[in-house]
């Protein structure tokens, strides 16, 4: 099912998912999680002009979708794994929030449009009263004027892009690659994914580690295996890639986002 998604530059990862998930409600039985996941990944492939911070947000959602989708093969796990349910609910909550603000925005648009039909009285003072109006310039000096003009003509500060909020996530993906590489490099045998996630408290950290592991797998630094369909993912350091090289790749990952769909789940 080919479906072209036109992305507004400012549309975010949740907007995109909301868009894919709510279009054509008639086709409810035709649109499955895997269709949505495929389309989502296809859409982010076209996001090459987007900055990295934004791309990270898209990738995290994609990884969550992939994880949910892969659990389809493991029905038992899906119902029994509360963390996976939690992850889905988190995504659902964000979707509902996004849909809510979108609807509120539409209401605001209608009201603002209506507001244009209300023209305020602006005629102001009649001539015989104008003379009575307090002298607005009473406390204004030429210096005030000069200062205000200087401010107006001064180059406008380019909007300061504060990445503070996003930095934790970005660093976490890069750091996760670094951390995983460190753990795996020092070990001779395989390490389970759940062990790699030991100590994480939030779903997002697990997702980020999942992304990091995919990156390590793609670079050839790590081999992954799943003993059986229900088993944990086990990762082994191949030793074929230099540790520094891995870190370099981690930096590159930050510069040129690839999509995680390349490593099939």
């Amino acid at each position: 099912m080919a479906y072209e998604v036109k992305l507004d530059v400012f549309e975010g990862p949740i907007d995109l998912l909301l868009h894919l998930i709510t279009r054509q409600r008639v086709d409810i039985y035709e649109i499955s999680l895997s269709t949505i996941t495929e389309e989502y990944i296809a859409a982010i492939e076209r996001l090459d002009e987007l900055d990295l911070e934004t791309a990270t947000g898209f990738l995290i959602v994609a990884a969550t979708l992939l994880e949910l989708k892969s659990s389809r093969l493991l029905p038992g796990r899906y119902t029994e794994d509360p963390s996976l349910l939690e992850e889905r609910d988190l995504l659902l909550a964000r979707l509902v929030e996004c849909a809510t603000f979108r609807a509120a925005g539409e209401w605001l648009a209608t009201m603002l449009e209506r507001g244009l039909d209300w023209h305020p009285r602006t005629a102001g003072l009649e001539p015989e009263f104008a003379g009575l109006a307090p002298d607005l310039l009473a406390s204004t000096t030429p210096e005030h004027l000069a200062r205000a003009a200087a401010a107006a003509f001064a180059p406008k500060p380019t909007p300061e892009i504060d990445l503070h909020h996003i930095t934790p996530i970005r660093e976490t993906v890069r750091d996760a690659i670094y951390e995983l590489a460190q753990v795996l490099d020092g070990r001779s045998g395989a390490v389970s994914f759940s062990e790699l996630c030991g100590g994480t408290t939030r779903r997002i950290e697990v997702v980020v580690r999942f992304l990091a592991l995919l990156e390590l797998f793609k670079s050839g630094a790590v081999d992954v295996a799943q003993a059986d369909r229900f088993g944990d993912i086990r990762a082994t350091w191949t030793g074929e890639v230099d540790f520094d090289e891995v870190l370099e790749e981690a930096d590159e990952y930050m510069l040129a986002p690839t999509q995680p769909g390349g490593a099939r789940s």
Partner: protein
Amino acid sequence: MNEEQGSSPPESKIVESILLMADEPIPAAQIAEVLERPTALVEELLNQLAESYRMSDRGFLLRESPGGWRLYTSPDCAPWLERFVIGNRHPRLTPAALEVLAVIAYKGPLSRATITEIRGVDSDGVVKTLQNRGLIEELAPTGSGAVLFRLSDGSVERLGLRSLDELPPLVDFMPDAEAVEDMESKLSPSV
């Protein structure tokens, strides 16, 4: 030009004349000062006046916004007023811009960073557009440093609200149970 007769015009008449002369929203308290009457009473007069304009199907209406009370032309006359309007209408806002506006309306004042965080996507461009159109404004900078944005009084006025407290509750915009269920089922691996 009537002579000094000892009898002053009715208070509602004076209120009406002040409103006609004003070129910005006027707080009830300011009118109360002119009349030397309690603000509550003036507010009652203003409400009565607004109601009487509405009832008598006039070409103008009286409405309260964050800054105070102001006369407006009746919206159903707008098509005939078009040629008197100075300036042109702005192009429609994009869905993304409207979403940011909604986020600021309901959660503001907010910094650029928080807006971006809520939406999961860089929103600085959209914030700039909204600011240029006068729909949002910067709050006077606080000690913390981050610039906070809120809806401008002008926006609230244009929305026809007295204050942001009058916004419909956000729950009214939440997708209904059926829609949420639909989303949930699509996020779940089919058995």
